[in-house]
Subunit: 544 residues, 2 copies
């Protein structure tokens, strides 16, 4: 076992666990394994398991080791001696750097194959999306990921476009991300995504790409290309070889810029938010200033606003929409998925939301591995130690997926009966997206998972067994479009997420659980009443 | 009818109702009566009744009349002609000024006597408070309100203090508000309130007052006098003839200053908050700045903090507490009642909370009439038109009672299962405290209501008939002390209250109603199941 070398102290007694998020410190034993840190104290009835990969940064001061986790929690361990603290810190540090492939290799073989398979295979998702519409077809042009490494092998494209055209279009699009179908709304208006066209400073064109995109609109119809960059950013991308569709070559499409922030900017914003949420003793004035200064709520508002814009194009104007930014693996995916959440009631069910994440994040190539390699504490530290204060890229880290889940929560908050899932489901998804025993969020794209996912169990199957915990007991299916309010005071801080360690929310959890228990008890009672009635009926029949 | 003279236009057709809080304007008929404005539109299926006394200010511009209400709502009526608008505005303005006595006289005789009587008579409340404790007695010294006009006729005082001493103590206390018992906590620690002693610049003393207060503490016991003013304010009150207890004369008591804001400062703060809540189009940045600038949440936090301090003295230190400020009709009452809410589970029931308001606000002489004569819009206007910008007193208006209900809501929010009532109950109480068909909040003190209350129905009886709407379906009695978190992010804006007109909260209301309906249905089903089981039992017995 290679792990053995990394773990200098596998077990240490007399460790005190404390921290800003821990009401009462406890004295117990710390165990370091290849996957988890385990702290247990029999005297205080405490047992805590932390996935090594949940640890964002580790700090040592004398005999204290502070862990700052990707789920925002901060834990301090005080060791009896300084040398022990140094060894523990070094062990954890080296385990944190162990790559996931390694990790999967070790835990992998415990899992049955049927637990590993995702219930959402690409073929059936594509078929469901087309639903017999002759306008669209499933293309195998990306077989073996030859055309676009971040796409799945099967994609849905216009029927009147052949694979050769797609290959040409892919060459004209950053990282080969040619235009594909995401969602078919009523009356033929559709939602598509791609990456930016490689127009460049000399304003190159690609007739095949034009054909792919223009063929989507019928004669006389108009569409919108929503660019997730500002006009200035799109222009500077053009100067660097990227760019945007020139209107002369895509005459039926109108370009609209709806600028959203980049993944690293979001992570900086999240760092500031979490820093504010950890400052439990400040005044209201300072708290509101910090909350405001983090700009997180503004990013949420801007994102919801942009999604409403896309949804309006599709629903009110009955126009088709193509969304892209540059690489289109961040802001584009948020817009594409939020729009569907607003328009399509199916996305508000448990399976529908899981499927949405599969299609528009996992299969669409959101680089989970890279974006979630470091969390907000690491980002804050990197920024501090860097000389240029505003443009640190945290090596590709980002918080776009969390932003999407937060926006989902906002809509859930505004329409609490319209979702089959509870907000626990959303928290759990975020946690698993950052670090997980499951293979679902493994790697950066479908190709990464293709070879490896079957070695680790599937998160969605896990949720199937936890229905009680993730179901909204008061779900009342609503087939309407849900237009979220984007008034400033409609945007709420997601306390269950960001303040879960800072505030004791037990009483709120008891309340939420009471609703679930009541519903469960009610259904049992209903079944009992029916049984009693039937028995009474039967017994009266017997004696007549 | 004298009202007839004031109403220049009793009925007007072709009026358009619109406003920042109204999603869709409607065309209909405006009717002005002595008590209400009624707007109805058959075409748009709208019928709106507004109590004249709910109108805080009225503004006319050409043919438009804008009403800004004490419940924060803003409504605009467009009349066909300017002259009509002028007449309507003049009619409403003169009706707004009609005093309540007048009003009561006209609607009074419709009501049966048993609906008018408060279920909380002073005698039985006093007996309940004493509960056989020989340390305390009911004094009739205030018969006919001779000693203190803002107290009820019966008060609970130490047994070993006679009425002559109380009279002397009352002369030494502002407005005769001598020390009385509010709450008996476990193990003999008690909570009392009074007004400031009239110590004055020459440091006068009153031996009878010392006797009244010192007799509360047994030998060797210590107590706290919590002064709701800052040290500087208490000192300046002393210079003006008021002051605080000199420690040499009250040797067992320790004075602590826990400064809370004055009623008019709170109203200014509320004005700013409501102004922010009405600005639906601003950015998140501006919204958070305005929210912060209003300082409302800081006042809430400070108040909860102070109440926790009082509760800690009683519960942790087992010490008795006397609370006062200057007149002690505002901040003192908030502290006294919040402390009980924290410590005493009975106050968290519907009847217990009603009783708390009766004892500590109505019978304690909170001047509802004066404080609620004008609302936050009037305060904002008065302040604008006044030259001195920070010290306008709005003729005695204030928002202390709302602050108390907001603090109650904060605890309810943090402990949602621990209250028998829902937050609707709190909203309804606030609304009735500002303007109401009921006599409960009439006048400024018990003496005012003594002669008049039986002419108007009682709010608490009304709530008895609305149990469904005000009950928390998930109430789980909790006999513990509830310590609210006062971390900055634990203090929430009460959206249901301040944003009720600015945001459509229908979906949240549907959710809350679904919980109530589920519980009701569940109880019916339970009864049915029991009946079925009993019938089955009976029928099987019959045939054996």
């Amino acid at each position: 076992m290679e792990f053995a070398d990394k773990i200098r102290i596998p077990k240490l007694n007399g460790v005190i666990m404390r921290g800003p998020h821990i009401a009462k410190s406890s004295n117990g034993t710390l165990v370091i394994t290849g996957h988890h840190l385990i702290f247990s104290s029999r005297a205080d009835d405490v047992e805590l398991w932390i996935l090594n990969r949940n640890i964002d940064i580790i700090e040592r001061k004398l005999n204290s080791v502070t862990l700052k986790c990707k789920d925002f929690r901060i834990i301090v361990f005080d060791m009896p001696y300084i040398e022990q603290a140094a060894s523990v810190a070094a062990s954890i540090e080296s385990l944190m750097l162990t790559d996931t492939e390694h990790f999967h290799h070790i835990v992998g073989n415990k899992v049955a194959v049927n637990e590993c398979r995702s219930p959402f295979d690409v073929q059936s998702q594509c078929e469901k999306l087309i639903a017999g519409d002759k306008m669209w077809r499933i293309s195998e042009v990306n077989k073996a990921y030859r055309v676009c490494s971040s796409y799945p092998e099967l994609t849905v494209v216009p029927s009147n476009v052949d694979d050769a055209m797609l290959i040409a279009s892919a060459k004209f699009r950053q990282n080969g991300r040619y235009p594909v179908l995401s969602y078919r709304h009523e009356k033929g208006s559709v939602l598509m995504r791609s990456s930016q066209p490689l127009v460049g400073p000399s304003s190159k064109r690609c007739k095949q790409d034009e054909r792919v995109i223009n063929s989507v609109l019928g004669p006389g119809k108009r569409g919108y290309i929503i660019d997730t960059r500002s006009i200035a950013n799109a222009a500077s991308a053009k100067a660097r070889g990227g760019g945007f569709e020139m209107e002369t070559h895509y005459p039926q499409w109108r370009r609209v810029n709806s600028a959203l922030e980049r993944h690293n900017v979001l992570l900086d914003s999240l760092s500031k938010l979490v820093e504010a949420c950890n400052d439990t003793t400040c005044s209201i004035d300072r708290w509101l200033n910090k909350l405001n200064g983090s700009e997180w709520l503004s990013h949420v508002k801007d994102t919801l606003n942009a999604a409403c814009l896309v949804a309006q194009c599709l629903n009110q104007e009955k126009a088709s929409v193509l969304v892209h930014g540059s690489e289109s693996t961040d802001a584009t995916l948020v817009l594409i998925s939020l729009t569907q959440l607003i328009l399509n009631p199916e996305c508000r069910t448990i399976v529908g939301f899981e499927s949405l994440i599969e299609r528009e994040w996992l299969q669409a190539g959101y680089p989970f591995e890279t974006r979630h390699k470091s969390g907000c504490y690491n980002a804050a530290r990197t920024k501090q130690s860097s000389s240029s204060s505003s443009k640190v890229f945290h090596h590709g880290s980002g918080a776009t997926f969390l932003l999407f889940i937060d926006c989902t929560w906002q809509i859930h908050y505004q329409f609490p009966c319209c979702f089959q899932f509870s907000t626990n489901f959303l928290i759990s998804i975020v946690d698993h997206a950052y670090c997980s025993d499951f293979g679902t969020f493994y790697g950066n794209c479908e190709a990464d998972r293709k070879t490896n996912r079957y070695a680790r169990p599937n998160l969605w199957s896990h949720f199937d067994q936890k229905k009680d915990e993730i179901t909204n007991p008061l779900y009342l299916p609503n087939s309407n479009v849900l237009w979220p309010s984007v008034a400033p005071f409609s945007i709420e801080l997601w306390r269950e997420m960001y303040l879960r360690w800072s505030i004791n929310q037990n009483h709120q959890k008891i309340y939420a659980k009471a609703i679930g228990d009541l519903m469960k008890h009610h259904q049992e009672l209903k079944a009992l009443a029916i049984k009693l009635r039937d028995e009474a009926q039967e017994s009266s029949n017997k004696y007549i």
